[in-house]
Amino acid sequence: MANPLLEAPSKSSPETAIDLSQQASTFITSQSSWLSAIPYPLSLFINTESQEKWQTYENLFLACLRTGDDNTAYACLESLTDRFGKGNDRVVALQGLYKEATAKNESELAEVLREYEEMLKSDPTIFSIRKRRAAVLRSMGKTSDAVTALTNLLDQSPTDAEAWSELGDLYLTQGSYDQAIFSFEEVLLIMPYSWNMQARLGEVLYLASGRTEGGDQMKILSESMRRFCRSLELCDDYLRGHYGLKLVTTRLLEVLSTSKKPQQSSSDPVRGDLAPPSVDAVKKLNELATSKLAEIVRRSNSGEKGWDGYSAAEIIAARELLDRDTQKIER
């Protein structure tokens, strides 16, 4: 039995967020029954604790904060603080989140930031607060300060994949592709099997290839193609991977057909450079990606059992990509 209250609401659509926040008041009243009012020795016989309960509180807190229902969010926060104490790292971060969300203007937000810095002065090891501080700096538009905060954090905790990923994203918004690629490669060193991050690195490489020319561009494009291939190796029928593979092989075929001669000399296996892929291999991969995309779109649209998990927007995008292809052939 799936429980929607346990799904993390961070990236969900506004519809699910509002659904979740509407369930909040009923959930909170269902938790405060007469059972929790039983005095101490007797209360040992009744178990009202579960991981699910507190996860639900946190999810409801985030959903209510997002939908602007600050009173319910505060009630959830109070329960979490009562249960885990004021000093708990996670609770401290949630309290900061509440203050950030309810700050009315820039000066109040700056006040929150100053509080974070005070906290970090007394105890610099609260990583949740250091992350919050970087996030606030980013949302205030102080990107270079956010980058410094993140690099400091990563100096002390270099295996934090989430922070590497945030740093890569930050560099990407700045247009510093080389640094972004480096950060995402660090993520992959920590989590080599994450198929979404493999595809993410492939996408960043594809973006970066637009800035370069000639042999360098070919090298970056083939690297991007290899990343997408790896993500598909880790995950069958990965729509995002197939989409990227199709885009990158189409581009790579154009580059390979315009370049005069294959640059075999640029490959150096000792340094980890691989030779550019042959035209035949790229063509085959392109055909494979096209047929797979068509299959996914077809089966998902026909509502086949077990094929309902793709997001509707992604399916539409894939269909548009395929349509663009057929139009080109018709012309």
């Binding site: 039995m1 799936a2 429980n3 346990l6 799904e7 993390a8 961070s10 990236k11 506004p14 967020a17 991981q51 699910e52 996860q55 985030l62 904060l65 997002r66 939908t67 602007g68 971060a93 989140l97 950030e100 969300a101 700050a103 937000l109 949740s128 992350k131 919050r132 970087a134 996030a135 980013r138 949302s139 994949a161 989430e162 922070a163 990923s165 945030e166 994203d169 993520v187 989590m191 099997y193 994450s194 198929w195 979404n196 991050m197 993410r200 190796e233 880790l234 995950c235 069958d236 029928d237 990965y238 729509l239 077990g306 094929w307 309902d308 998990g309 793709y310």
Partner: protein, 138 residues
Amino acid sequence: MAVGATAINILGFVFLSHAVYSAYEHSLLPSASQPTPPSRLLPSFLDPRVNLPLDITLETLFSVLLLCVGVVLSSPELKPIQWNVWAGRLERSKEARATKEVGVGGGNPFAGVEERPGFLDIRGQRKEFARWVREGER
């Protein structure tokens, strides 16, 4: 398939019960207490020294065979043990990635690296939500 497997299980159970009951009834017969001739096939320490009729032995073996087949057929579907098959199912089907309890289900375990809940931009999300509401009202 499930109906057939249950039928095989029930049939096997009936045969097994019948065989056991027959063996018990047979042991009550006066002829059962007579000494048995030593077995020619088995060594003496494995010889059970009972003279059970052949049809009861065959019925027992048959019912156990039926039960074995039935139990295997009625077992639940195997879970994927290959990484790419497992991951592909999470991407493909909503049911496979539903969260059942904390730590069970929930889809791609690496999604958090990309969503980054620790760096949640709550102010941006609130603005986005307010815009969505305003567009809905229009």
